[in-house]
Subunit: 206 residues, 2 copies
Amino acid sequence: MQLMSERGAAGGGLRERKKRATRAALAEAAVRLAAEHGAEKVTVEAISAAAGVSVRTFFNYFETRDDAFVVIDADAGARMRAAVLDAPPGLPPLEVLRGALAAEIAEAEQQHELWRLHAEVLHASPHLLARGVGAHMAAEAELAEAIAERLGDTGGLYPRLLAAVAGTAVRISMDHWSAHQEEAAFLDVFHEVFSLLAAGLPAPPA
Amino acid sequence: MQLMSERGAAGGGLRERKKRATRAALAEAAVRLAAEHGAEKVTVEAISAAAGVSVRTFFNYFETRDDAFVVIDADAGARMRAAVLDAPPGLPPLEVLRGALAAEIAEAEQQHELWRLHAEVLHASPHLLARGVGAHMAAEAELAEAIAERLGDTGGLYPRLLAAVAGTAVRISMDHWSAHQEEAAFLDVFHEVFSLLAAGLPAPPA
DNA sequence: GTGCATCTTTGCATACCATGCAACTTATGT
DNA sequence: ACATAAGTTGCATGGTATGCAAAGATGCAC
């Protein structure tokens, strides 16, 4: 059996597939090792060995060691961009983002175990959680651009704020959920956060 | 003349004052060098030399090189905590944060030039902007705790979300302002962002 | 299927980041 | 002035990250 068709990844060539496989192997090895030993104690050498490539190759795929713990899917940005531009015209921008992110997350959550480990690793190393924002900053900028395009407000403050707040929402949702996995599904937390945002973060009922 | 009383820092001992001075010198050197040469090209050695201490001493003050570009004031957290707890009881939490942050920023903005350079450095190196969130994550957690205490909602989702969104607001405000310094004062941008948040991020008028 | 062009991987050299430790210098309290 | 505590420094060490050139795959044309 061939393990083809990873994730919308019928990408024709053998090269493409191999690259995807290597990247995925590195990311997965990183998360598993971090979940077991703590992210700080996992060296690039260990990750590379677990994935069966050289250290130098690791750095061909990730700019920094931390990126391996953080980057989930390379072309999530493109998908979300499309989702934002395709959403029904009347929908409030915050709702558009809620929808696009929820879809993306539902996708990622398919790989139950890895998603859970991922959340736990990030929860255990807050600095990685922050880095998550950084790594997805490109995605954030891309999102902002898509929103700007949708609204015709290019270069404005609003699209960037919206994208950044959405990123923050995901970050806080993951962190909170990973500490309360028993009590609620991730998507429930996520939707609660967005509801709070849409309501203007009102004081909760005492 | 003695250069005493830096910033609420009449801290009695000579040791205290020297430490504050060294820390400030390192942070300032870092920002000035980064503004001139780009943050990525500034080595710890250069920063240390400019501040007149050894490399090893640099790392006695900052955990990582990037922290020197990011950490503004060590005890801002404590001040904000106090501000949050002292705010009038009826005020909505988001307004409490707006006030506490605005006061803190107004303070930092006293040093015009440094504040401007700081914003420019962060704008030029987005990864530092993200790290800013990370470095202030301790502050964020502290803020969250103060809010939680104020609301009696310890460990809940809401305080953490509020603190995180507030941090994001500062980040986006700085970034946007540093790119549009001519058009508006920083505090104007900041207040506009908070108004958007309080209104639930509604679609802007087309 | 042979052979050339292209892309990827790899090892090596190099520079920088970060930490522990021990020796040394400088404040502080009495 | 003295003993103690605190801060600074150099050295050694190990991990992170990049450029470069050689070797190994893959894709493509013929």
